[in-house]
Subunit: 79 residues, 4 copies
Protein backbone atom coordinates (compact mmCIF):
# COMPACT_ATOMS: atom_id res chain seq x y z
CA UNK A 1 0.00 0.00 0.00
CA UNK A 2 1.55 3.34 -0.96
CA UNK A 3 1.94 5.99 1.73
CA UNK A 4 -1.09 7.69 0.27
CA UNK A 5 -4.31 5.81 0.80
CA UNK A 6 -7.77 6.72 -0.32
CA UNK A 7 -9.05 8.10 2.95
CA UNK A 8 -12.66 8.29 1.84
CA UNK A 9 -12.76 4.64 0.77
CA UNK A 10 -11.06 3.61 4.02
CA UNK A 11 -13.57 5.65 6.01
CA UNK A 12 -16.51 3.96 4.26
CA UNK A 13 -15.09 0.52 4.98
CA UNK A 14 -14.44 1.41 8.61
CA UNK A 15 -17.94 2.85 9.01
CA UNK A 16 -19.52 -0.30 7.52
CA UNK A 17 -17.54 -2.40 10.02
CA UNK A 18 -18.59 -0.15 12.88
CA UNK A 19 -22.28 -0.40 11.96
CA UNK A 20 -22.02 -4.20 11.79
CA UNK A 21 -20.12 -4.35 15.10
CA UNK A 22 -22.83 -2.18 16.65
CA UNK A 23 -25.51 -4.52 15.31
CA UNK A 24 -23.59 -7.55 16.58
CA UNK A 25 -23.29 -5.98 20.03
CA UNK A 26 -27.03 -5.32 20.04
CA UNK A 27 -27.73 -8.98 19.37
CA UNK A 28 -25.21 -10.08 22.01
CA UNK A 29 -27.13 -7.89 24.47
CA UNK A 30 -30.37 -9.55 23.33
CA UNK A 31 -28.84 -12.98 24.06
CA UNK A 32 -27.87 -11.75 27.51
CA UNK A 33 -31.45 -10.51 28.02
CA UNK A 34 -32.91 -13.92 27.14
CA UNK A 35 -30.55 -15.64 29.57
CA UNK A 36 -31.55 -13.03 32.17
CA UNK A 37 -35.22 -13.76 31.47
CA UNK A 38 -34.53 -17.51 31.83
CA UNK A 39 -32.71 -16.95 35.10
CA UNK A 40 -35.65 -14.94 36.33
CA UNK A 41 -37.85 -17.93 35.62
CA UNK A 42 -35.58 -20.19 37.65
CA UNK A 43 -33.60 -21.81 34.86
CA UNK A 44 -29.85 -22.38 35.29
CA UNK A 45 -27.93 -20.24 32.79
CA UNK A 46 -24.70 -22.26 32.96
CA UNK A 47 -26.56 -25.47 32.12
CA UNK A 48 -28.51 -23.69 29.37
CA UNK A 49 -25.24 -22.55 27.77
CA UNK A 50 -23.94 -26.14 27.83
CA UNK A 51 -27.18 -27.37 26.27
CA UNK A 52 -26.99 -24.71 23.52
CA UNK A 53 -23.45 -25.92 22.77
CA UNK A 54 -24.54 -29.56 22.78
CA UNK A 55 -27.43 -28.90 20.38
CA UNK A 56 -24.88 -27.66 17.81
CA UNK A 57 -23.39 -31.16 17.64
CA UNK A 58 -24.71 -33.98 15.46
CA UNK A 59 -26.28 -36.72 17.56
CA UNK A 60 -23.59 -39.28 16.76
CA UNK A 61 -20.85 -36.80 17.71
CA UNK A 62 -22.69 -36.04 20.94
CA UNK A 63 -23.18 -39.72 21.73
CA UNK A 64 -19.53 -40.51 21.08
CA UNK A 65 -18.40 -37.64 23.33
CA UNK A 66 -20.79 -38.85 26.05
CA UNK A 67 -19.48 -42.42 25.78
CA UNK A 68 -15.87 -41.22 25.94
CA UNK A 69 -16.58 -39.09 29.00
CA UNK A 70 -18.21 -42.05 30.74
CA UNK A 71 -15.15 -44.22 30.11
CA UNK A 72 -12.72 -41.54 31.30
CA UNK A 73 -14.82 -40.56 34.33
CA UNK A 74 -15.20 -44.17 35.37
CA UNK A 75 -11.47 -44.81 34.92
CA UNK A 76 -10.68 -41.80 37.13
CA UNK A 77 -13.41 -42.36 39.69
CA UNK A 78 -15.31 -39.24 38.72
CA UNK A 79 -18.73 -40.89 38.71
CA UNK B 1 -35.39 -25.38 40.32
CA UNK B 2 -37.40 -28.53 41.04
CA UNK B 3 -36.36 -31.70 39.25
CA UNK B 4 -39.30 -31.15 36.94
CA UNK B 5 -38.84 -28.17 34.64
CA UNK B 6 -41.22 -26.83 32.06
CA UNK B 7 -39.58 -28.37 29.02
CA UNK B 8 -41.62 -26.39 26.52
CA UNK B 9 -40.71 -23.04 28.10
CA UNK B 10 -37.06 -24.08 28.26
CA UNK B 11 -37.16 -25.13 24.60
CA UNK B 12 -38.61 -21.75 23.57
CA UNK B 13 -35.92 -19.89 25.47
CA UNK B 14 -33.17 -22.09 23.95
CA UNK B 15 -34.58 -21.64 20.46
CA UNK B 16 -34.71 -17.84 20.87
CA UNK B 17 -31.04 -17.91 21.93
CA UNK B 18 -30.12 -20.12 19.00
CA UNK B 19 -31.82 -17.79 16.50
CA UNK B 20 -30.01 -14.79 17.98
CA UNK B 21 -26.66 -16.66 17.98
CA UNK B 22 -27.25 -17.56 14.35
CA UNK B 23 -27.97 -13.92 13.51
CA UNK B 24 -24.87 -12.81 15.43
CA UNK B 25 -22.73 -15.31 13.53
CA UNK B 26 -24.13 -14.01 10.25
CA UNK B 27 -23.08 -10.48 11.14
CA UNK B 28 -19.65 -11.67 12.30
CA UNK B 29 -19.27 -13.26 8.86
CA UNK B 30 -20.33 -9.95 7.27
CA UNK B 31 -17.60 -8.16 9.25
CA UNK B 32 -15.08 -10.72 7.99
CA UNK B 33 -16.33 -10.10 4.45
CA UNK B 34 -15.78 -6.34 4.74
CA UNK B 35 -12.26 -6.88 6.05
CA UNK B 36 -11.71 -9.30 3.15
CA UNK B 37 -12.97 -6.66 0.74
CA UNK B 38 -10.64 -4.08 2.29
CA UNK B 39 -7.70 -6.46 2.05
CA UNK B 40 -8.52 -7.02 -1.59
CA UNK B 41 -8.29 -3.27 -2.11
CA UNK B 42 -4.85 -3.21 -0.51
CA UNK B 43 -5.77 -2.00 2.96
CA UNK B 44 -4.04 -3.54 6.01
CA UNK B 45 -6.59 -5.44 8.11
CA UNK B 46 -4.52 -5.46 11.29
CA UNK B 47 -4.17 -1.68 11.20
CA UNK B 48 -7.87 -1.31 10.37
CA UNK B 49 -8.79 -3.34 13.45
CA UNK B 50 -6.59 -1.09 15.61
CA UNK B 51 -8.20 2.00 14.09
CA UNK B 52 -11.72 0.60 14.73
CA UNK B 53 -10.71 0.07 18.37
CA UNK B 54 -9.22 3.57 18.61
CA UNK B 55 -12.34 5.20 17.22
CA UNK B 56 -14.34 3.75 20.13
CA UNK B 57 -12.31 5.90 22.54
CA UNK B 58 -13.09 9.50 23.39
CA UNK B 59 -10.47 11.84 21.97
CA UNK B 60 -9.07 12.82 25.35
CA UNK B 61 -8.75 9.16 26.36
CA UNK B 62 -6.99 8.46 23.08
CA UNK B 63 -4.68 11.44 23.45
CA UNK B 64 -3.77 10.45 27.01
CA UNK B 65 -3.01 6.86 25.94
CA UNK B 66 -0.87 8.19 23.07
CA UNK B 67 1.04 10.50 25.40
CA UNK B 68 1.62 7.70 27.89
CA UNK B 69 2.87 5.37 25.18
CA UNK B 70 5.30 8.04 23.95
CA UNK B 71 6.72 8.47 27.45
CA UNK B 72 7.08 4.72 28.00
CA UNK B 73 8.47 4.03 24.54
CA UNK B 74 11.00 6.82 24.88
CA UNK B 75 12.02 5.62 28.34
CA UNK B 76 12.59 2.10 26.98
CA UNK B 77 14.17 3.11 23.70
CA UNK B 78 11.28 1.83 21.61
CA UNK B 79 11.11 4.85 19.36
CA UNK C 1 2.50 9.91 36.67
CA UNK C 2 4.62 12.93 35.73
CA UNK C 3 5.90 13.10 32.17
CA UNK C 4 9.27 11.98 33.50
CA UNK C 5 9.29 8.39 34.67
CA UNK C 6 12.14 6.45 36.13
CA UNK C 7 13.11 4.55 33.01
CA UNK C 8 15.45 2.17 34.79
CA UNK C 9 12.82 1.10 37.32
CA UNK C 10 10.28 0.67 34.52
CA UNK C 11 12.76 -1.43 32.54
CA UNK C 12 13.41 -3.70 35.53
CA UNK C 13 9.69 -4.22 36.04
CA UNK C 14 9.16 -4.94 32.33
CA UNK C 15 12.08 -7.38 32.26
CA UNK C 16 10.75 -9.25 35.31
CA UNK C 17 7.37 -9.57 33.54
CA UNK C 18 9.05 -10.77 30.36
CA UNK C 19 11.03 -13.45 32.20
CA UNK C 20 7.86 -14.67 33.93
CA UNK C 21 5.90 -14.66 30.65
CA UNK C 22 8.72 -16.65 29.05
CA UNK C 23 8.59 -19.17 31.89
CA UNK C 24 4.80 -19.37 31.62
CA UNK C 25 5.05 -20.01 27.89
CA UNK C 26 7.54 -22.79 28.53
CA UNK C 27 5.13 -24.51 30.87
CA UNK C 28 2.25 -24.05 28.44
CA UNK C 29 4.41 -25.81 25.86
CA UNK C 30 5.06 -28.61 28.37
CA UNK C 31 1.29 -29.03 28.84
CA UNK C 32 0.92 -29.28 25.07
CA UNK C 33 3.66 -31.90 25.00
CA UNK C 34 1.90 -34.05 27.61
CA UNK C 35 -1.36 -33.86 25.66
CA UNK C 36 0.62 -34.78 22.54
CA UNK C 37 2.13 -37.73 24.38
CA UNK C 38 -1.35 -38.82 25.53
CA UNK C 39 -2.69 -38.53 22.00
CA UNK C 40 0.18 -40.66 20.78
CA UNK C 41 -0.91 -43.33 23.28
CA UNK C 42 -4.45 -43.24 21.91
CA UNK C 43 -6.11 -41.04 24.54
CA UNK C 44 -8.66 -38.43 23.46
CA UNK C 45 -7.30 -34.96 24.21
CA UNK C 46 -10.67 -33.20 24.11
CA UNK C 47 -12.09 -35.59 26.71
CA UNK C 48 -8.93 -35.28 28.81
CA UNK C 49 -9.32 -31.48 28.87
CA UNK C 50 -12.93 -31.87 30.05
CA UNK C 51 -11.82 -34.30 32.74
CA UNK C 52 -9.07 -31.91 33.93
CA UNK C 53 -11.72 -29.19 34.21
CA UNK C 54 -14.11 -31.52 36.06
CA UNK C 55 -11.45 -32.54 38.58
CA UNK C 56 -11.13 -28.88 39.63
CA UNK C 57 -14.71 -28.96 40.92
CA UNK C 58 -15.75 -30.22 44.35
CA UNK C 59 -17.68 -33.47 44.11
CA UNK C 60 -20.96 -31.93 45.22
CA UNK C 61 -20.64 -29.14 42.64
CA UNK C 62 -19.89 -31.74 39.99
CA UNK C 63 -22.80 -33.92 41.04
CA UNK C 64 -25.21 -30.97 40.99
CA UNK C 65 -24.04 -29.93 37.52
CA UNK C 66 -24.46 -33.51 36.30
CA UNK C 67 -27.97 -33.73 37.76
CA UNK C 68 -28.93 -30.40 36.19
CA UNK C 69 -27.61 -31.47 32.80
CA UNK C 70 -29.59 -34.72 32.99
CA UNK C 71 -32.81 -32.80 33.71
CA UNK C 72 -32.21 -30.31 30.90
CA UNK C 73 -31.06 -32.93 28.38
CA UNK C 74 -34.08 -35.10 29.14
CA UNK C 75 -36.44 -32.13 28.86
CA UNK C 76 -34.98 -31.28 25.45
CA UNK C 77 -34.62 -34.83 24.17
CA UNK C 78 -30.85 -34.72 24.13
CA UNK C 79 -30.40 -38.12 25.72
CA UNK D 1 -9.45 -46.24 21.78
CA UNK D 2 -11.14 -49.39 23.02
CA UNK D 3 -13.80 -49.05 25.68
CA UNK D 4 -11.20 -50.21 28.18
CA UNK D 5 -8.46 -47.68 28.78
CA UNK D 6 -5.46 -47.98 31.05
CA UNK D 7 -6.79 -45.94 33.93
CA UNK D 8 -3.46 -45.74 35.74
CA UNK D 9 -1.64 -44.37 32.71
CA UNK D 10 -4.45 -41.87 32.09
CA UNK D 11 -4.31 -40.77 35.72
CA UNK D 12 -0.54 -40.19 35.54
CA UNK D 13 -0.95 -38.09 32.40
CA UNK D 14 -3.78 -36.09 33.97
CA UNK D 15 -1.80 -35.53 37.16
CA UNK D 16 1.24 -34.31 35.18
CA UNK D 17 -1.01 -31.84 33.37
CA UNK D 18 -2.55 -30.69 36.64
CA UNK D 19 0.86 -30.06 38.22
CA UNK D 20 1.96 -28.06 35.18
CA UNK D 21 -1.31 -26.08 35.12
CA UNK D 22 -0.81 -25.34 38.82
CA UNK D 23 2.73 -24.14 38.14
CA UNK D 24 1.50 -22.02 35.23
CA UNK D 25 -1.18 -20.44 37.42
CA UNK D 26 1.44 -19.63 40.04
CA UNK D 27 3.51 -17.78 37.47
CA UNK D 28 0.44 -15.96 36.13
CA UNK D 29 -0.18 -14.79 39.70
CA UNK D 30 3.46 -13.64 39.90
CA UNK D 31 2.95 -11.57 36.73
CA UNK D 32 -0.14 -10.02 38.28
CA UNK D 33 1.90 -9.23 41.40
CA UNK D 34 4.58 -7.43 39.39
CA UNK D 35 1.94 -5.35 37.59
CA UNK D 36 0.42 -4.63 41.01
CA UNK D 37 3.82 -3.56 42.28
CA UNK D 38 4.29 -1.31 39.23
CA UNK D 39 0.84 0.22 39.73
CA UNK D 40 1.75 0.90 43.34
CA UNK D 41 4.78 2.82 42.10
CA UNK D 42 2.59 4.93 39.84
CA UNK D 43 3.20 3.16 36.53
CA UNK D 44 0.28 2.64 34.11
CA UNK D 45 -0.42 -1.10 33.76
CA UNK D 46 -2.34 -0.81 30.49
CA UNK D 47 0.56 1.02 28.85
CA UNK D 48 3.04 -1.46 30.34
CA UNK D 49 1.11 -4.35 28.79
CA UNK D 50 1.22 -2.62 25.39
CA UNK D 51 4.95 -2.04 25.76
CA UNK D 52 5.54 -5.71 26.70
CA UNK D 53 3.67 -6.69 23.52
CA UNK D 54 5.63 -4.20 21.42
CA UNK D 55 8.98 -5.46 22.71
CA UNK D 56 8.13 -8.93 21.31
CA UNK D 57 8.19 -7.47 17.81
CA UNK D 58 11.31 -7.03 15.70
CA UNK D 59 12.16 -3.36 15.26
CA UNK D 60 11.39 -3.32 11.55
CA UNK D 61 7.99 -4.92 12.17
CA UNK D 62 7.30 -2.37 14.88
CA UNK D 63 8.40 0.53 12.68
CA UNK D 64 6.22 -0.65 9.80
CA UNK D 65 3.20 -1.01 12.07
CA UNK D 66 3.85 2.50 13.46
CA UNK D 67 4.13 3.96 9.96
CA UNK D 68 0.92 2.22 8.86
CA UNK D 69 -0.95 3.50 11.91
CA UNK D 70 0.23 7.05 11.23
CA UNK D 71 -1.05 6.87 7.65
CA UNK D 72 -4.42 5.43 8.70
CA UNK D 73 -4.87 7.78 11.67
CA UNK D 74 -4.02 10.80 9.52
CA UNK D 75 -6.40 9.65 6.79
CA UNK D 76 -9.21 9.30 9.34
CA UNK D 77 -8.42 12.38 11.37
CA UNK D 78 -7.39 10.44 14.44
CA UNK D 79 -4.27 12.48 15.14
Amino acid sequence: MSDVIQADKLRLLIERIERLEEEKKGIADDVKDVYGEAKGQGYDVKTMRKVVALRKLDKHVRDEADAMMDIYRTALGLT
